[in-house]
Symmetry: C2
Subunit: 328 residues, 2 copies
């Protein structure tokens, strides 16, 4: 293993969020499960957009949000994801680059256009997401720069991008390159991955030793393992994953490394406005702690501080000085 | 004069704002006057965008913001403005229509693309604007629907759009149609209009009796009239304008109708985040009060409440229930 010039490189959806305030009734009429994420066709996205209120557009994407957080925490970060050659693609690229995140995946001509995620935030600050992935799902292994992957201490893979075939192949190839260079592979679960037939594939990938650090929330690890109690989930996963991190919303978070388990309460927040990005920023904070040599509990605390900041405002990317907040 | 089916129709820039947080030093390095608005070429817009931080995109445009406010206050509202057939144009159209503002100006194919305004918000909540007007300045008198203008109690014209020749012609034509139908014409000043040679033309238009309700802030009426003291400004303008409304930021606002003058203090705000849109929303509130038959002082107060809401968050369009706040 040679020394790494980059702290972290992520592969994920390149998405612009369209955030609108919505009443609970709006979700109920459409049968949306609050807090969930579902994929939309182009037509469904047009219809939902026409029905929803005025939006604010803020660059998003789960792993991309994590990289925005990582950069804000002082990590040398890069992102690989597919946009189209259009205005939303230019916005996404600008927002990454202006944060100091290296982002050099060339845009495709399109169609499809750059992906977008229609996020409905209800008065209880919960977010319900409907994603039109667009160009994002056109990512192929050819978009990878092996040298970039080899140069990063951590390769961070996004669960949402595990569904479509070509991006999944790109992520597996990135994991292979990373491991062959002696690097760490992190994977963040997404709800949609952990349900139905798909969970077999994800669990298989984890059993195969692909993942060194696994992030998930309570629901995700339950669905993935099929276990009811959290201790059983931990037993089922931690034998395959050197570092397991489970976020529990207002109940804090847990990290498990073999027989060692630590737990922390959630960081305090004055007013929760929009929970979008909480998990993404938690992962960013945890990895920032890890890259800076903090002990396991302090890594959880750094994650918790980053998550607390992002849920205090609209949008899934940090607005405050995270580095100062996390004393990094 | 027949009864009006529409309360208000506005003609203005159709713009998407790109809002980023900036330090004072960023403005100083570039010689930007804080609080000002300047026009950019496409190249200047690209260069500034590349240098500025990550943005949040929220539909804007001065008179368009006023219409968003008018609709939120329960007025039956319409907007005329030019976007291009691109993603930002679709965002602008969606955001108007989803607020209930009638917006039917067909997009032009482009180039130029839909206009955008790069807004730098400094820690003191001041906004400094750099506008690439794009398609917005391609508005022509042909885009007007005379029946729409005739059907509206108030035709509201945006000072920023007075600069370029064809939009100016469209606004003058709209004023002519409105007056011929016995309607009211409102005009909102913009800083850039009130400086140099241009002020002669604006003052001439006002002297010609084109404007029934004039909105401006203290600086604007000073620059426009060339008078130092506010009483002299009022004297110079009120002889040509039946209703003169002067906003004074934290010092409140004044309205003058012939010999009658009323003054109010500013509505209280917990924390000022971003002053963008304060004047736009003040005008919306004032006109909403007028359309609902409120007395002059109550019109000022309604304006003040709407302005106070919009400066309490990022973006120049209301987020709270203005109708309830203003008890309309």
């Amino acid at each position: 293993m040679t020394s790494s010039s980059l702290d972290i490189v992520a592969i994920g959806d390149a998405i612009v969020d369209v955030i609108a305030i919505a009443e609970d009734a709006f979700l109920e009429e459409r049968g949306f499960a609050k807090g969930s994420m579902r994929l939309l066709s182009a037509k469904e996205a047009r219809d939902l957009y026409a029905a929803m209120g005025p939006g604010r557009e803020i660059s998003g994407g789960s792993a991309a949000n994590s990289m925005a957080g990582a950069a804000a925490l002082g990590l040398n970060s890069a992102f690989v994801g597919q946009v189209a050659d259009d205005q939303l693609g230019a916005i996404f690229a600008h927002d990454m680059q202006s944060l100091g995140v290296r982002f050099q995946t060339p845009p495709i001509p399109g169609p499809p256009p750059t992906g977008r995620c229609l996020i409905l935030v209800t008065p209880d600050a919960q977010r319900t997401m409907s994603t039109f992935p667009g160009a994002s799902h056109e990512l192929t292994p050819a978009a990878l720069d092996p040298e970039l992957i080899r140069s990063a201490s951590v390769t961070f893979l996004e669960g949402y991008l595990w569904g479509p075939e070509r991006p999944r192949a790109a992520m597996l190839e990135a994991a292979r390159i990373a491991h062959s260079a002696g690097r760490t592979v992190a994977f963040t679960l997404s709800e949609s991955l952990c349900l139905g037939n798909r969970r077999e594939g994800v669990f298989g990938m984890i059993e195969a030793g692909t993942v060194d650090i696994l992030f998930g929330n309570e629901d995700e690890v339950r669905h993935l393992t099929g276990c009811e109690g959290l201790p059983d989930c931990i037993t089922a996963l931690s034998k395959h994953v050197p570092t397991l991190v489970i976020t529990r919303g207002a109940h804090g978070a847990i990290a498990v490394e073999r027989d060692y388990m630590v737990e922390i309460p959630a960081a305090p927040v004055d007013r929760i406005v929009d929970t979008t990005g909480a998990g993404d920023l938690f992962a960013a904070g945890f990895i920032a702690g890890r890259c800076r040599g903090r002990p396991l509990k302090a890594c959880l605390e750094t994650g918790s501080i980053a998550a607390a900041e992002v849920i205090s405002h609209f949008g899934a990317r940090p607005e405050a000085d995270l580095r100062e907040l996390a004393q990094l």
